[in-house]
Symmetry: C2
Subunit: 252 residues, 2 copies
């Protein structure tokens, strides 16, 4: 667990001769834990750089470097003249930050949902592996059709551990942006998602939900979503009709 944080130098590998660990890295970890622990809620301001420096007994420059790293990792928002705030997923950010389907003209399409069903059931083998669950643990399955530009475009199956999201099945109908809900209702912040894409032929369920012909090529996206601490809290399988939309990503 505990992702080394993209913005920080790599941690020492296992069994090393005890490597150097910079001060600002410790400040980073300390602040990260306090944020994750809920000391400040999403949207709330942290103490000022000066205050944190005094509190932690380090210079302002060191605090600044830790805060810069936290901002790079999207844990906080810094606003000149105002302060430093715990990052908040607005409905809009939650929709677009992890949603890559775009129209041919490059505009992001806004999804809505239809035919949503929720189920509480035991985890399947693949879900156990992906979510790191013990045998017999229960999951909540959300099955829904996503509509873009008025067309049913995507069949989405979302699976989360019931223990992590207790009572989620009673919150239906669910909002469009699940990750904002995770944050608001369960204080769980999705920090990154790993996606695996492949092409697959439409099955009967796809035909029924999307109106495509049997065997039509669909883009299948398998996703696991992780918190800052590296805990996997969601597994998701989406099957998309890419006739009018495509999955856009920039690699650098």
């Amino acid at each position: 667990m505990s992702t080394p944080a993209a913005s920080l130098p790599e941690l020492p590998a296992g069994g090393e001769p005890l490597r150097f660990r910079p001060l600002y890295g410790q400040v980073y970890e300390s602040l990260l834990k306090r944020i994750a622990g809920g000391e400040w809620r999403a949207g709330e301001a942290l103490p000022s750089e000066q205050a944190l420096a005094a509190q932690l007994g380090v210079s302002q420059g060191t605090v600044r470097k830790a805060l810069d790293a936290l901002a790079l990792d999207k844990m906080i928002d810094r606003r000149q003249g105002k302060g430093t705030f715990v990052a908040e997923l607005t409905q809009e950010q939650a929709l677009f930050r992890f949603f890559r389907l775009t129209r041919a003209d490059g505009e992001r399409a806004v999804p809505s949902s239809a035919d949503e069903t929720l189920k509480l059931r035991p985890a399947r083998a693949v879900e156990q592996r992906a979510l790191g669950l013990a045998p017999d643990e229960e999951v909540i399955e959300i099955l829904r059709t996503r509509v873009l530009d008025g067309r049913p475009t995507m069949v989405e199956r979302v699976v989360v551990p019931a223990a992590v999201f207790p009572g989620l099945e009673r919150l239906a109908p669910l909002p469009n942006a699940l990750y904002a809900l995770y944050q608001r209702e369960y204080r769980i912040n999705i920090a990154a998602v790993d996606e695996r894409l492949r092409a697959d032929a439409a099955r009967r369920e796809d035909v029924r939900r999307l109106g495509v012909v049997l065997g039509a090529p669909l883009l299948q996206i398998e996703r696991v979503a992780r918190t800052v601490e590296g805990r996997v809290v969601e597994w998701r399988l989406s099957r998309c009709d890419t006739t009018h939309l495509s999955y856009a990503v920039t690699l650098s």
Copy 2:
């Protein structure tokens, strides 16, 4: 053109009341131009921070901030104790940095090429648009089958402006990693690629090259590759059999 650089604050929008521009941003631009202009070749060392600071008449801290930003944008490599070097695409980096196909176990598959053909021909409309070419400009088309784990997996069509890569058609057979070749032979550095993915049914050419059945679902990847200055110098269309591999990406 001139991407504002991911690591720098946003540039003033058009027609603004003349906004503040930090010193380190100017240093960044200055060094970027000197690197792009070939003052130091790929792999060569830049002057030390101290030397640059003296040369530019700013403090070492300001130079450092500019160099940090350049490193973030993968323009330079910094090595403690050694120096600062213009980023170099090794054959391996070039292959993996922009290549997302991975095996089920998460290991990156190493591609090789087969059935390569090169052609010099006028640009088609779609290529003119993507590459920003004038009518009647010529392009070089590379058509090849990519083999992964011993299986023909991908049909790849690479199209580049003939004016940008003069004589490329005489360099066949081309190496596996084209971007290392672009850098070595033409001093063109690919900084980022934009990819658009969709699912499509296998056509006759796919059947012949990949051995899939007609209509089988393929993952189609359309790519444009950009230099640091934002110039699009390559357009690429890949069609992949994702039976044994998938396209993996992390969003954060």
